[in-house]
Amino acid sequence: MHLSNIKIINKIIEAKAAIIKTGIFMSLAAYWGVILVGTFITFN
């Protein structure tokens, strides 16, 4: 019972870390998207 609780907590922590990492990755992708599209529009 105690072991399964630890496993669940670990899973939650891992899922939280994965969500944060995905969020950062998505933000960086959006950031670069804005910069590249903006440059493309400016030079056209």
Binding site: I24, L28, Y31, W32, V34, I35, G38, T39, I41, T42
Partner: protein, 359 residues
């Protein structure tokens, strides 16, 4: 309270400039990065035209690097031979950079080019710094130790004309430091930055210099590069404003001292992610300014010479009548401020030691 900058022809708030340069100085001292790539965008946001922001920040970097380099000279942590090799490349790179600057100024696109260059540099550094600091935090949480290779060889290590560098204990091709200097000089001329963010990693990972010699040698190179950039900007475009330089130097020298003291007391590795986010935010602000706010007509204030005080009139006439000597004076002015700051720091440090011994 606003002050009119006679050369840049804009009104600025001196308290804002002093505060911002002090904040950037604190960040420089805390994280060991040059402040140029943050201060120039801030000057642009405060209304200083990009071409003037670049030139004046280069003069400010000259003062701060003279100050830092004097300290390293006194500690004997400088490799002059390696430094001079990088300076050779830096001189060629600076000349190429000024040529490019002149080309874009000629077609009226220099402000856009400077803004875009800053946007990309800040985005690249911010992204790399953020990813690296998050990895470090992740490793610390998992208690992971990463094993690194002792030697990594790149194509640059296979170049001919090898030479001995006794101080760094290296046997390296002269083209390696020259190529690195060329890149640094080119970027410094266009963006008005010292280039330490390229120079320091290149010296450690590509040239493989001992870490204790890197900061001093990097500052030594920065002196020469910023001297050339300052002189060429002053001589070609008369864009150095001594009033602005004075404010920038005072703010940044005080800020760097505070930052270095803070760095001794707190662990800055966790704060690195915050600096990365700050760089990304400044980058996106420049992007907004370049892509969306470009159409906003900036207010141009014309002030006739009769409205100016003696100091402002003197600066304008000096820069117009004797551009060569004005350029030399700007350089000597920055060197004097830098050396004075180094000696004041030494005096304060010795005074503190005496006080501690007495108590």
């Amino acid at each position: 309270m606003e002050v009119f900058l006679p050369i840049a022809q804009v009104f600025i708030n001196p308290i804002e400039i002093l505060l911002l340069s002090a904040i950037v100085g604190v960040l420089s001292g805390l994280f060991g990065v040059g402040g140029g790539f943050l201060m120039t965008p801030f000057l642009i946001f405060l209304g200083v035209p990009p071409a003037y922001a670049v030139a004046n920040e280069a003069n400010n970097i000259l003062a701060t690097s003279v100050s830092g380099s004097t300290t390293h000279y006194l500690k004997n942590t400088l490799d002059y031979k390696m430094g001079f090799m990088i300076v050779i490349g830096g001189t060629i790179g600076t000349a190429l950079g000024i040529y490019t600057f002149t080309y874009f100024k000629g077609i009226g696109k220099i402000d856009t080019v400077i803004s875009l260059a800053y946007m990309y540099i800040l985005a690249i550094i911010g992204t790399l710094m953020l990813v690296e600091s998050l990895r470090e935090i992740d490793r610390e949480k998992r208690n992971l130790v990463v094993k690194k290779k002792l030697h990594v060889h790149y194509w640059i290590h296979g170049l001919p004309l090898r030479m001995r560098f006794p101080k760094s204990k290296l046997y390296e091709s002269i083209f390696t430091p020259i190529l690195i200097g060329l890149l640094v000089g080119f970027i410094a001329a266009i963006m008005g930055i010292g280039g330490a963010f390229i120079l320091v990693p290149a010296m450690i990972y590509i040239i493989k210099m001992p870490t204790r010699l890197v900061p001093g040698t990097s500052l030594f190179v920065t002196i020469f590069v910023s001297v050339i950039v300052t002189f060429l900007h002053s001589f070609n475009y008369g864009s150095i404003d001594l009033l602005l330089v004075l404010m920038l130097v005072i703010g940044s020298i005080v800020g760097v001292q505070v930052g270095q003291k803070l760095g001794e007391k707190i662990d800055s590795s966790g704060l690195r992610a915050l600096l990365a986010i700050l760089l990304l935010v400044v980058g996106i602000a420049i992007a907004y300014d370049t892509f969306f706010a470009e159409q906003i007509q900036k207010e141009i204030i014309s002030v006739s010479n009769s409205d100016l005080n003696f100091f402002s009139t003197f600066i304008i006439e000096f820069s117009k009548d004797m551009p060569f000597f004005y350029g030399l004076f700007s350089i000597m002015f920055a060197i004097f401020l830098g050396v004075a700051a180094a000696f004041i720091r030494r005096f304060v440090s010795n005074f503190k030691k005496k006080m501690l011994l007495q108590s």
